[in-house]
Symmetry: C2
Subunit: 343 residues, 2 copies
């Protein structure tokens, strides 16, 4: 049973969504009986500590802290320069000095420093995207009893995660918003829809399987359970909740019936992630061969995004969304959690 | 009700699969209470007449005849020559004379001659892939009371089909095997998994919606019904039935646990279709910019396929399959129909 494994009331996980939510959403979902999540990939140690303190202060229920565990790429100056050069017309258009844009990773991979921060809080659930970190980094989490979750996008990845000790597996259908969790292959052509992925993963592993991707309402939750899911993970449907930190531009795009189309794009970070189509994707993507390795593509885009957003434009903003943005409603996170979790 | 609209017992449609089945499968499925289908895209008028005669002789139940209704492409000699040139090493390897390979369309679009053949049999259901033919061609079918089905891969396509008079819509998730039915856009990046597509199509149209793509067992049928489908269309799961004309090489590939990966490829026909990965896809695809417009890519590949198959190799054979080939079992079509249709 997933609920007993994770010690939660409802078999509903809120998908960690770096950049569009903090502890407020985590707390609301966990207090409503689901498993709230805190995405930590973009947090420095101090912010992580502050957020974890806020969670511990506001809920006694279990919650999930989420990390990326990609291999840190070697900075490639030539590739970086070519990427910036391709963006030069945009810097000019927005009146930015291309020379003053700093380089930087944008998202950190799971490391010993993060384990040290976690040790202070002993979170009951830790989840990973892009595989699993080394056993050396996992051992301390297991030592305080944390359950380990990780994302699979193929049957092969699910088998790999089970063999490496994941306590439950999130089967991420092609429909899902945000970054694809793929880690054994980078071939997008072989990514699978949830209808085909979920039953095959359920048949392939013994640990509980959590369905993710395109689940936005009670129908979706029930269908996923019928296909064998022990629980579901829902992201996009939480983006309009007042407890999410989704920007006004992102909220407006999600509510625009003319902007329902999403694509997998690497132009924001260097790895494929699903979002609503905007100008940057249309003009430079969706998949660009120029984008530096994840997460190094981010730094050059950040100032464009910041300036455009100040002008009220989402041209350079990642508008993460699954393939079912029609399911987004303005609703309290607790209400959505009880509705979907009780389905 | 889909069953009353189509006058069938079970809300289960057998997907028309050109090249791998004829009337034997149609008859078996229809007699078991589902809606059997006869794919006609690759049949000349005489063969079509023979197959329809066989169906009428063996079942009094409703059945579906299926057609492609793509715009017939203009033959482009330069593009064709470039395509053949790219295949020259394969002709040489297999000892074929590249100069003697005939050009030819491979698949015909729905036309007045086909209507004339159909008029002799007045099939109760006619379905289309790649949109709908002109009202001029549809009117005679409607005149004898045929119900018109068509495939949508996006919400926009579903709305278009309803507006153009489709009696029911097949929502084809990205998981589906064979040709994508897409017709308003050729952008593969925006194709949607069934989990996200199905509920959005159900909410967007008033006609019954039939779910297709990755449905291979009772779980899948029930999940699709929960997501709002009035019925389901199943293809890949029928490929190992004795009543299908699936080649021994194709059957072997579908049963090989090491060959579970499928991709969308245009190298066999010029349009994206999903199949198991083989040598031709791996070396020239999955999507080739050289492939002539659908269906003109086919002619140059056919002799390679024929020769390789004689040598016992599936290197150039289209091994159509959805993303859930694990669901394929050697089972009588009637038994599969009753099992899935009764779910």
């Amino acid at each position: 049973m997933l609920t007993s494994l994770l010690n939660i009331e409802l078999p509903l996980l809120q998908a960690p969504m770096a950049g569009v939510q903090g502890s407020a959403l985590t707390v609301a979902v966990s207090n409503a009986g689901g498993l709230g999540a805190l995405p930590c990939a973009m947090l420095d140690p101090d912010t992580m500590r502050r957020e974890l303190t806020a969670i511990r202060a506001q809920t006694g229920r279990p919650f999930n802290v989420n990390f990326f565990c990609h291999a840190t790429p070697v900075f490639d100056a030539v590739r970086d320069a070519r990427w910036r050069q391709s963006l030069a017309p945009y810097y000019a258009e927005l009146g930015l000095d291309a020379g003053s844009v700093p380089a930087g990773p944008g998202r950190a991979t799971f490391n010993a420093g993060m384990v040290d921060v976690l040790r202070e809080f002993e979170p009951p659930v830790v989840s990973f995207h892009f595989g699993l970190p080394s056993e050396e980094l996992l051992a301390p989490l297991r030592a305080w009893g944390a359950k380990i979750l990780a994302t699979a996008t193929t049957v092969a990845e699910a088998r790999w995660l089970e063999a490496h000790g994941a306590d439950a597996i999130i089967a991420q259908g092609l429909e899902a918003g945000g970054h694809r969790g793929m880690f054994l292959s980078d071939d997008l052509a072989m990514q699978t829809g949830l209808f085909a992925l979920l039953p095959q993963v359920v048949d392939a592993v013994r640990v509980p399987v959590i369905a993710a991707g395109g689940i936005a309402d009670v129908r979706g939750v029930r269908a996923a359970r019928l296909l064998g899911a022990a629980g579901v993970q829902v992201g996009t449907a939480y983006l309009l909740c007042p407890e999410a930190a989704t920007s006004p531009l992102h909220r407006a795009a999600l509510q625009d019936p003319m902007r329902r189309d999403t694509v997998l794009t690497n132009v924001f970070t260097g790895r494929p992630a699903r979002g609503l189509i905007n100008r940057f994707i249309a003009e430079c993507g969706p998949i660009s061969a120029l984008a530096p390795a994840f997460p190094l593509a981010t730094a050059a885009v950040s100032p464009l995004r910041a300036k455009a957003e100040r002008l009220g434009r989402d041209d350079f903003s990642p508008l993460w969304s699954g393939q079912n943005p029609a399911g987004c409603r303005v609703v309290a996170a607790a209400e959505l959690t009880r509705e979907l979790g009780g389905a």
